[in-house]
C-alpha cells in the first residue's frame, strides 16, 4: 500500500484541470471552421469540396440572395473548405467547445450575399462579390485595357448568354481581342 502511494507521488498529478482552467489544444488541431463573412465571395468552392455537405450554397426562395450555410453538427473537420477557399474566408480555428443544449439550430452559421443578375436575360447566376473579385484578379494580371473592357461585359453574363454572345461575335466578323 505504501509502495503504491510512493509510485503515485513519483508521477504526480497528470489530470487536466480542464473545465476550471482553459485547455490549450495541440498545434494544428482541427477545430470549428471559423467563417469571416467580409471575405466571403460566394464562389461555392467550399460547398463543392465539403464531403458531408455541411456547407451548402444556394439561392433563397425569391433568388434575391445567395445563402451560404454551415451546419457544425454535420461537419467532420476534414479542412477541405480551408484548402479550397481562394480568399481565406473559412479557416479551421482551435475552438473545441461546441456542445449545445436542446436547440440544434445554434450550430448553424449563415451568410447572405447579394445576387448578380445577368445583364442580357436578367437571370440570377452568381454573387456580386464573385464578379467583383474576378475583375480585380484580371486587372492585376497584366492584360490590356481593351481586353479588360471586354472581360467586364462577359463577367456580368450568365453562362448561357456568354456562350451566345461569344458565338455572335465570332460569326459577325468583328475583330476579337486575342492575346
Amino acid at each position: 500500500m505504501m509502495k503504491l502511494l510512493d509510485i503515485s507521488k513519483k508521477y504526480g498529478e497528470i489530470t487536466h484541470k480542464y473545465p476550471f482552467e482553459p485547455y490549450k489544444v495541440s498545434d494544428n488541431f482541427r477545430g470549428k471552421p471559423a467563417y469571416i463573412f467580409d471575405l466571403c465571395i460566394g464562389c461555392a468552392a467550399c460547398g463543392i469540396a465539403c464531403p458531408s455537405n455541411a456547407i451548402t450554397v444556394q439561392f433563397n426562395d425569391d433568388k434575391s440572395k445567395l445563402v451560404w450555410e454551415f451546419d457544425c453538427g454535420r461537419c467532420i473537420f476534414c479542412g477541405r473548405c480551408d484548402e479550397v477557399c481562394p480568399t481565406g474566408a473559412i479557416k479551421l480555428s482551435e475552438e473545441f467547445e461546441l456542445a449545445v443544449k436542446f436547440d440544434k439550430s445554434a450550430l448553424i452559421q449563415r451568410g447572405e450575399l447579394d445576387t448578380q443578375y445577368c445583364t442580357t436575360c436578367n437571370k440570377p447566376f452568381s454573387a456580386k462579390r464573385l464578379v467583383k473579385y474576378s475583375f480585380e484578379c484580371l486587372s492585376k494580371a497584366n492584360v490590356s485595357e481593351k481586353r479588360l473592357e471586354e472581360a467586364k461585359n462577359y463577367l456580368c453574363m450568365c453562362p448561357t448568354c456568354k456562350k451566345t454572345a461569344t458565338v455572335a461575335t465570332f460569326t459577325s466578323g468583328k475583330e476579337m481581342v486575342i492575346e
Partner: protein
C-alpha cells in the same frame, strides 16, 4: 418521417422541471450508459480516452455503467442504423425516468457524413428527444467533458446561431505581385501546396515570399539566390528549407531569366559526415 411515438407516460415523466429536479437530487453522481448505434468506433475511443485519469470525469461524478436500468444519462453515438433502431428504443425505455439523452459525434447529431445513406435514420433526434448535442468527428475528450458538464448546467453554452445578412464593403483581396505578374504567385502557391499540403504550404509560401522581398531586387537572380540561400540556412525545419529551394528552382526560374548557376544546389546535406 416520424418513426417512433413516445409513450405517454414516458413523455409525462420527462418534462424539463422533472429533469432539473433529478439533477438537484442526484447531486454529484451521474451514471452514464453508452449506446453505439452504428458508429465507426471513433467516438467510443474518445469516450474511453475521456474517462482515463488524464481527464478524470469522476471529478464531476460521471461513471459509465453497463446497464441502462442503472443509468441517468444515455450517451448515444452513431447515425442509427436499421439494425440498431430497436436496441436503441429498448435502452431508452429501460432507462428510469427522467432520463437525459446526449447525442455524441457528427453522426449522432445530424447523421454526419452518412446523413443520406440508405440504411441509416441520420441522427438520434429523429427518433428520441435529445437534450444535448456534442458535435465533432470524433469529439476531443475536452469537448466531451465540456458537453456533459454543459448538459448538467455546470458550464454555459458558448455557441449561438450566427447569421450575416447585410453585405459590407469587400476589402481588396488581390495583392500586388512581387514580380509584377500575378501568375507567379498563383503557380508558387499551387506548387507550395502540392509539396507540403494546404496548411504548411501556405506557411511555406509566406516564408518564400518574405525571403524574396528581403533580397531588395526581386528580378535579379543573383540577389534572390543569396537571399533564399540565407533563408534556407537559417530555417530550423529541414522540410521548409528543402521545399524553398525546390520552389526557387522550379517556379522562380520560369518567370525570371536565369542561368544554370543561379539555381540553388539542394544537395547540401551530406549524410554521415560531420
Amino acid at each position: 418521417m416520424k418513426t417512433y411515438e413516445i409513450p405517454n407516460e414516458i413523455e409525462l415523466a420527462n418534462t424539463l422541471e422533472q429533469k432539473l429536479e433529478l439533477l438537484k437530487q442526484i447531486g454529484r453522481s451521474f451514471s452514464v450508459f453508452r449506446i453505439d448505434c452504428g458508429s465507426c468506433n471513433g467516438c467510443e475511443i474518445e469516450i474511453f480516452a475521456a474517462i482515463t485519469p488524464l481527464w478524470d470525469p469522476e471529478r464531476f461524478g460521471f461513471k459509465l455503467v453497463a446497464n441502462p436500468r442503472h443509468a441517468d444519462i444515455l450517451l448515444c453515438t452513431g447515425p442509427v442504423t436499421r439494425q440498431m433502431y430497436y436496441p436503441l428504443l429498448r435502452a431508452y425505455e429501460a432507462t428510469p425516468d427522467p432520463k437525459i439523452v446526449v447525442a455524441l459525434g457528427a453522426c449522432g447529431v445530424t447523421g454526419g457524413i452518412f446523413y443520406d445513406a440508405y440504411s441509416v435514420l441520420s441522427g438520434i433526434d429523429k427518433i428520441i428527444p435529445v437534450d444535448a448535442y456534442i458535435p465533432g468527428c470524433p469529439p476531443h475528450p475536452a469537448s466531451i467533458i465540456y458537453g456533459l458538464t454543459t448538459a448538467l448546467g455546470v458550464l454555459e453554452q458558448k455557441l449561438q446561431k450566427v447569421s450575416f445578412e447585410e453585405e459590407g464593403d469587400l476589402p481588396p483581396l488581390v495583392e500586388d505581385s512581387v514580380l509584377g505578374n500575378t501568375l507567379f504567385e498563383r503557380d508558387l502557391l499551387v506548387q507550395a501546396k502540392r509539396l507540403m499540403s494546404y496548411v504548411f504550404g501556405r506557411k511555406l509560401f509566406d516564408k518564400y515570399i518574405k525571403a524574396l522581398v528581403q533580397s531588395g531586387n526581386t528580378k535579379d537572380p543573383k540577389a534572390t539566390k543569396v537571399s533564399i540561400t540565407e533563408a534556407i540556412q537559417t530555417e530550423e525545419d529541414p522540410r521548409y528549407a528543402e521545399c524553398m529551394g525546390i520552389l526557387h528552382n522550379e517556379i522562380y526560374t520560369q518567370y525570371v531569366l536565369c542561368e544554370e548557376e543561379d539555381k540553388i544546389d539542394l544537395h547540401r546535406v551530406i549524410w554521415g559526415a560531420k
